[in-house]
């Protein structure tokens, strides 16, 4: 019987199979890379705001505490963004005619809100409560990053569930002294620099002076704050009601 397939069918078919596998894996890899890129999750990409509000200027250079504007962060699930009146407490007396502040003045005049673009936005099926995180000693900068270095605010963390679970599974890695919660110096938790604010944490614990390593201090903090164990903190209903 005549041969149906030519001689070089063998290597050709092997090449094709390899190509298909490579394409499929490569395609999946590409999709994953795209999905995890800042294009999709907006990490590090500051959106354009109606007023170029600089956290660096107000927080680092002027030393304003987070809570001056984000007033409900200790009481409520929602941290709050400042009303136009808050801005005008200072800007009715300085930079009063600055062009960049015109939307704020207009809002104050016409009683229409400033249309800020929301930077940190969890999907609607997630419930997040700021106040309980503050009460347990999670610093603002832990999640929001070096806000005091941001000229225009951008999202520092991906805010993905896997990112939330990093802390919920190991709170001792991220919880700090209560006195340090609103401090703007940011600890890069990825480099695990545990020595920042360790004195404040020691001062807070009843038997802080007897603890030696930063790991012990942080574990003691978790216990002292009665933070639930990882099992309780990773139950679905905690965030998905």
């Amino acid at each position: 019987m005549a041969q149906i397939f030519s001689r070089n069918s063998n290597p050709l078919s092997r090449l094709l199979i390899a190509l298909v596998i490579f394409t499929v894996l490569g395609g999946l890899g590409l999709i994953t890379a795209v999905y995890r890129s800042p294009y999709m999750n907006r990490v590090g990409v500051p959106p354009e705001q109606p007023v170029p509000f600089s956290h660096k200027h107000h927080v680092q250079q002027l030393g304003i505490d987070c809570r001056f504007c984000h007033t409900s962060v200790e009481n409520s699930s929602f941290a709050g963004i400042p009303s136009a009146k808050t801005c005008m407490t200072c800007h009715s007396q300085m930079w009063t005619n600055a062009q960049v502040l015109e939307p704020v003045r207009e809002a104050f005049r016409t009683n229409q809100p400033v249309p800020w673009v929301r930077v940190h936005h969890l999907p609607e099926f997630v419930y997040f409560n700021h106040s309980v995180h503050i009460a347990k000693g999670v610093a603002c900068t832990t999640c929001h990053g070096p806000v005091d270095h941001m000229e225009m605010l951008y999202q520092h963390s991906t805010l993905w569930m896997s990112w939330c679970l990093q802390c919920h599974r190991h709170p001792e890695k991220f919880v700090g002294a209560k006195a340090a919660v609103f401090q703007s110096n940011w600890i890069d938790s990825r480099t695990q620099d545990l020595n920042m604010n360790i004195d404040l944490a020691k001062a807070e614990l009843p038997d802080g002076n007897s603890l030696q390593t930063p790991e012990d201090i942080r574990k003691a903090l978790v216990k002292h704050r009665k933070i639930p164990n990882a099992m309780s903190m990773t139950e679905c209903y905690v965030c998905h009601r």
Partner: protein, 988 residues
Amino acid sequence: MNDTFEPSTNFKELPILKKPEEKVYWRSMDELADSAEFRTYLETEFPSKHDTWLDPVSRRDFLKVMGASLGLMMFTACRRPLEKIFPVNEAPENQIPGKPVFYATALAFGGLAQGVIVETHEGRPTKIEGNPAHPDSLGATDVFTQAAILDMYDPDRSQSVVHRGVVSSLDSFVRALTPELAVQKQTQGASFRIVSEVTSSPSLLAQRAAFLKAYPKAQWIQYEPLGRYNALQGAKLAFGDFLEARLNVEKADVIVSLDSNFLDEGPAKLRYAREFAAGRQLTDGRTTMNRLYVVEPCPSITGSTADHRLALRASDIESFARELARALNVSDVAAGGALSPEARKWVNVVAADLSRSRGSSLIVAGDEQPPVVHALAHAMNQALGNAGRTVSYASSPVAESATGWQDMQQLVKDMEEKRVDLLLFVGGNPIYDLPVDVELARYMNRVQFVARLGLHENETSNLSHWHVPQAHALESWNDVRALDGTITIAQPMIEPLYGGKTPQEFIALVLENAHSAHDLLKDYWKKESRVALFDSFWQQSLHDGIVSHTALATHQPNVRSGFAKEFSAIKGDVEIVFRPDPTIWDGRFANNAWLQELPKPISKLTWDNAAYLSPAMAKRLNVENGDLVSLNYKGRTLDVPVWITPGHADQSLSITLGYGRTKAGRVGDQHGFNAYMLRTSDAPYFDGGLTVTKKGGSYKLVATQTHHSMEGREIVRAATLAEYKSDPKFSYRKTDWPEESETLYDTAPKLDEETGWGLTIDMNGCTGCNACIIACQSENNISTVGKDQVSRGREMHWIRVDNYFEGSTDNPEMLHQPVTCMHCENAPCEPVCPVGATSHTAEGLNQMVYNRCVGTRYCSNNCPYKVRRYNFFQYADDSTEQFKFMRNPDVTVRSRGVMEKCTYCVQRIQEVKIEAMKTDREIKDGEIMTACQSACPTRVITFGNIRDKKSRVAQLKNEPRNYAMLGDLGVRPRTTYLAKVRNVNPEI
């Protein structure tokens, strides 16, 4: 590829690959993807044409469609869209965004107050709770009060002033009204009439007095179709004055209800229900219970809770009352009509029981019985020495409305004779709900200027020249009295959404003294309160929800004699009985979807009313449920479907009012049958002379529960008091509590040692009022689904109240059982979810994660209690703006394709837990209340931490009556029931 799909030769024999009847040929995936139908499917992500899914589509084609769409949808919606966020311009004080603020107010029903506390989020009311400080609420609410929030956000509410069908303005209205008023002033208002709903509002009644002073010959009529005229006139007969009888049910050991649904009708029903249930408590070692006898024609909630119930025609109740009065030696009472032997026996036994409880018994007459029955009840209470003990009397806060019906008839006569030129309606719907022989509609065009203030442009506004939108009770400044006279200064939760006016503002316009509702009320109270520090009085009253010490003083009247000397029997074989509808009342709630879909407590009907009759009568007429009959009464005919009601009196047919409306709105129109078309003014509640004939044909009536049999399983357990005393653990079955090791699954969740949430429901107090259902619907953003979907069993209520009948069909015992998710420790729904959307928490909750659910529905399949509800379609209305305001922001709004169920109000649990975590304190018992628990008037639902031995729920679970429903399945439910006990009189 071939044009047609041909199975390869090897598989021809296999039946599964036979071609379907309708052949749909697809050449390729691309062609499929590019077809016009498919494109439209893509464009409308949630196809509103649900009918397409009812057509038989082969599974293969379905998978092809889904496969193609998957390919196309992969790259959409990955990137988080940028959204705007808007802060307030000037943050109001005391408002923290994200935390609700609670305000006390009161809603008026029939003119009398229901005190409430309203939860508001960011300035919008979202949930209504009872006000514990209010005497007629005691922290509970009824179905109407809970559903009032939907009434407020009803998109069909009128949003503008309307003049002859054209949108107008308030200024135009005032400009048109002013010359009419000038004309009336000249005649002292001789042709000026105002018709309002019954009100007890001191400020509005003061305006009424001012109005009658300005226009001495004018009239202000207070009218309601289902008012309490009989009660007031009965008091007049007995005492000579319009007094209210305030029951002290907690002091009564024996209660006799003469067709009185006092546990579910009337302004103080929540208080009566609470006290009644308290008198039946068998927890904590108590062994005495009160006893309730009910005599009524059609089964009601009170009748279903009774220890003994006699089904007696409405027209025979007066005879029963007369015989009972004579047996109790009340003087000057003529004999009534003939009674059946059973009824005679009842008279003797009940009289004997009452005589044994002098001073601690109580006789109540229903609002649907004529005044003489009320007077007889007063006389009997006096004869038994109950006055001042189990019943006390005070002036009625609505005494001035007692002649409303006669006044309306006179008004129509005046209109017929063209003696009315200016007619104003303040609320109400007399065109729809006046008796059919009072022909208001016919003479409306003989009045020169008719205006109506109302929430909706209803049937009456439709025939008026002007319509002015009314502010809802939740948007109004108002003052209103409870039954005992306690005043509540009601404050609005939100500014009127559509610029509506309160009745006080409207009348102020009429009196040419226009002010805002707030100013009117505050000025009135500044004058009336006469307190030294008005501001603190005002703040305190608004905060508390009541003005202290405003209850009307009690009287000690004497019953006159001679009012029952004559008796005239009702003629005719079959009687017709008109009753208020348990969920629609007199028609005012017809456009409220929650109430339309709420199953009626006894019949479980939704979206329609029906003619209720006894099984014996149905057999004689040869009708089944839904068959149409012609009701012929006084020359008028109405065709209605029947609903066979076990326990209904024979030779009696009852029909509820409030349906068949034409201008209620998109929800209420064209549902049900208008019984007002048969109701006449001389016999508003019952009459003889009804002829019922089978018409042929049927109407689809939809009920959520059509069979009421427990099928041999012990779902509701009940016993008599004697049985309970001899064996308190009568409801215990060892098989209900299987050993923990009796399970094949190794996946038992690790449960927390310190906290475990559980619930108990005491069947002994549950009246079946359904307040828990509406409260749950309001708290958890539960959607309505419409009549067609309810007929398929797809109603979305997370808690339902099941009814079971036991005994004979003529007069069965009725048992109510609220059923929620049991949060089984060994939940059958959890292991079967393919995506892990439902799992168990360490604290015992069976949690439901909506974003994981793909809609397999295996969990619902496995649930033995069938408490899981599936969103077969996009039931949640996500486009109407008003509903976005109304919804609870703490609960996810579920979309299509997602399973949902009771969560033990996890949002409430979390709220309290978070607050406790912030301040490092323990959660107190009773601090977390589920929505159903806080609404329940009889307080039979108890929720709490079962691991805390001192908590109420743990104590209740240790009661001997505690049992688990279907516990023998080994699911270990966290919701358990306390069995029902009846205080049976062995002599009956």
